[in-house]
Structure formats: C-alpha cells, structure tokens
C-alpha cells in the first residue's frame, strides 16, 4: 500500500514538474504577453495542483493535507487575479511588454 502511494506521489509530482517546465518554456518562447500568461497559468494551476495532489499521501495527518490544499487554493486565487490584471495592462499597452 505504502509502495503504491509512493509511486503515486512520484508520478503526480513528476507530472506537475512537467507542467512547470512546459510553462517556463512557453514563458520564454511565446511571442506575445497574452500567450506567455496563458503558459504561466498552466504551471500555476495544473503544475502546482498535481504537486499538491502528489504530496497529499505523504502529508502528516488530515490537517497538514488541508494546509497543502489551502496553499494551492490561495495560489489559484492570487494567480488568477494577477493574470487578469496583467492581461488587462498588456492589452492597454502599459508596462514593459
């Protein structure tokens, strides 16, 4: 059982890391601000989500697991809002593009 959970952790965290890698590649390679933001949100939402999901079996009790989920939820909230604000600024042509 423990082996299966460990394997699940490795698989989920590795998948999450892949999303971070893809998001970073997109951030560096995509041509315009909106596409780059699109790449970043994948790292935030899916990458962090998969890593948290993978770490849940390793969490020290229900409370620690709830904290991990709370971290993901807060990152979602902040990331989504900030992406919207950046996208709006980019469309208005503000800031260094």
């Amino acid at each position: 059982m423990s082996l299966a959970l460990d394997a699940f952790t490795v698989a989920a965290v590795a998948a999450g890391a892949c999303f971070f890698l893809a998001g970073t590649a997109g951030l560096l390679r995509f041509p315009d601000p909106l596409s780059r933001l699109h790449a970043l949100t994948k790292a935030d939402n899916l990458g962090l989500g998969l890593i948290v999901l993978g770490l849940l079996p390793q969490a020290d009790g229900v409370l620690a697991g709830a904290k991990l989920i709370a971290v993901w939820g807060l990152a979602q909230l902040a990331g989504t809002a900030v992406t919207q604000l950046l996208a709006r600024a980019a469309r208005r042509g503000e800031g260094p593009a």
């Binding site: 807060l74 909230l77 989504t80 900030v82």
Partner: protein, 320 residues
C-alpha cells in the same frame, strides 16, 4: 551525495545566478525583477538552513522592498536613458569592481576561516529559555535578550516613514498620501482586483494575527504578521474599498507610535520592578512581551502600509 546536498547546491547556484542577473540587468525594471526573485530564493535558502524565522522575514521584507523598488523603477524610467549615457569612466568602474571584489574576498575569508566549532551563545540561550516562558528561541532573543535592538529597529522604521512624508510639498502637508484611486462616490473596482480584495483580506488578517500570536512557540513574529496585515490593507486600497487616512489624523498617529511607546514604557518600568531598562520581572516575561507585541503589530502594520502609500499628495480634508 544525498538529495539534500543536491537541493542545497541548486539553491546556492540559483542564488548566485539571480544575484548576477540583478547586477548585470540593463534596465532598472529588470534589475528589480531579478532582485525580487533573489529574495525568494534567499528565503528558500534560509529554510534549508532551518532558520524558518529568518526565511519568513526575508519573504516579508522581499515583498515589501520589491513593491517599493518597482514603484521607484517606474518613476525613473523616463530619465533612465539619460542616466545610462552618463556612465562613470572606465577607471572608476574598475576601482569599484576591485573594491567589491576585496570586500567579497574578505567576507569569504572570514566565513571560511571561522573557528571550528564556531563560538556560539546558542547553548546559553537554550538553557535560559524556560525563564521567558517562550518556546521559540528567536522570539526570546528578539524580545528578551536583545530587546533594545528590536526597539531601536522599530523607531528606525518610524523615522523612515517621516522621511517619506517629508517629501510632501508644504501645501499638501497633513493631507492624504498617494493619488485618489477612485473618484468620490464612485463604486469600488469590480473585476479581478475587486474579487481578490474581497476574498483575500479575511484570510490574510487571520494569517497575520496567527503569525504574531504563534511566534511565542513557533516561527513567526510581529514584523512578519504586520507585513501581511499591511498587504491586505494595500490590496483593499488598490481596489478602492478604503482610502489612506490623512497623515494629520490623530488616530493614525496614535496607531503609529503605540508600539514604540508601549515598548519604551515596559522598558522604563524595568528600572522599577527589575534590574534595569528592558528587564522583565521573574515570571512576567511572557505577558509583558505580549503587551509589547500587540501594539507593535498595529504600529508596524500602519507604518509599512503608509510607507507604500507614499508622501501626502492630496490636500488636507478641509481644503478638499
């Protein structure tokens, strides 16, 4: 080679890379972005060194200075090209580089040649910890053994705010800091910022207060908690839910000085009931530290929030 060593090596390499990036950056904006990233990696390095209190402080200070530096970079942008063309002479730059290299080499020599084992007060501190009723030795060091440092640090913060305020033109003195973020009577911002400013502060306020309270036994502290509380206020202000108070507001000024005043009061009472300035009587250390930390949290949060708001930019209320 353990996984921990690999992680440490990656963090150390990242630190050097991001620091180099901050120095080598072409524009002030890029330098600030690299500096903020440097702060984040540095916080991670402190966690790896098991200094969670320092990591929390670094993250808090990094976020704060990041915002201040970004604002400064935005202000400097129009004049940046002109400043760029006035590069100092090659000789001066070489001298500066040499001086920096000497300082870095000196620091490296001191760190690498440290006595083994390094001289430390840690066992003494751990032995005296029960006398303070605190579980977190960092808090004990900050508020019992080295309380004078902490007290002076808070006074310096206040002096910094006075420095910012003194940039206001005479006619605006006593007015509200920063530009009005929405017209009088207009609705607060909707959309993403409005949503975030509605959802996040209730969580942030709980986390901020928790960080202050838990510092007695776990990593945390008044400064770290205050930073989060100040950030929540800044968020609500950006979305137009609250406005900055006029700097002549008496309640605001009372909030700004409450912490240092409480600290001084407890410190001076030390002459009467213990061995001298900032000494706590036996068995009273913890309640007195709480009595200092609570007003201190309010003062530091108000100071940080107003530091971000900037100098008064609108006239006092009476003159509109």
């Amino acid at each position: 080679m353990s996984a921990g060593f690999v992680l440490d090596a990656v963090v150390a390499a990242l630190l050097v890379a991001v620091a180099t990036g901050a120095i080598a950056a072409r524009t002030a904006f890029a330098a600030v972005v690299a500096f903020v990233a440097y702060g984040l990696v540095l916080a991670l390095a402190w966690v790896r060194l098991a200094a969670v209190d320092v990591a929390l402080t670094e993250a808090a200070v990094g976020a704060l200075t990041g915002v201040l530096l970004l604002a400064a970079a935005a202000r400097l942008r129009p004049s940046e090209a002109a400043a760029e063309s006035e590069l100092p002479s090659a000789g001066l730059r070489a001298a500066a580089a040499l001086l920096c290299a000497v300082v870095a080499a000196g620091l490296a020599a001191v760190v690498l040649a440290a006595a083994e084992p390094a001289p430390t007060l840690a066992p003494l501190a751990a032995q005296q910890l029960p006398a303070t009723d605190l579980g977190n030795p960092v808090t004990a060091a900050l508020l019992a053994w080295r309380a004078i440092d902490t007290l002076l640090e808070k006074v310096v913060l206040l002096a910094g705010l006075l420095g910012v305020w003194s940039l206001a033109p005479d006619r605006l003195w006593g007015g509200r800091p920063g530009a009005a973020l929405r017209a009088r009577g207009a609705a607060p911002r909707d959309g993403a910022l409005g949503l975030l400013a509605r959802l996040l502060p209730p969580i942030g306020i709980v986390v901020g207060v928790y960080l202050v309270w838990t510092a007695a036994d776990h990593p945390g502290g008044a400064f770290q908690g205050s930073t989060i509380l100040a950030a929540m206020w800044v968020l609500a202000r950006m979305a137009g839910f609250v406005d900055a108070p006029a700097v002549s507001d008496r309640r605001l000024r009372a909030a700004l000085v409450a912490g240092p005043l409480a600290f001084f009061a407890v410190g001076l009472l030390g002459f009467a009931w213990a061995d001298g300035f900032l000494a706590y009587p036996d068995g009273w250390a913890k309640p007195l530290i709480v009595a200092i930390e609570v007003p201190m949290t309010i003062s530091v949060a108000a100071t940080l929030a107003l530091l971000l708001a900037g100098p008064p930019a609108r006239g006092p209320e009476s003159r509109g």
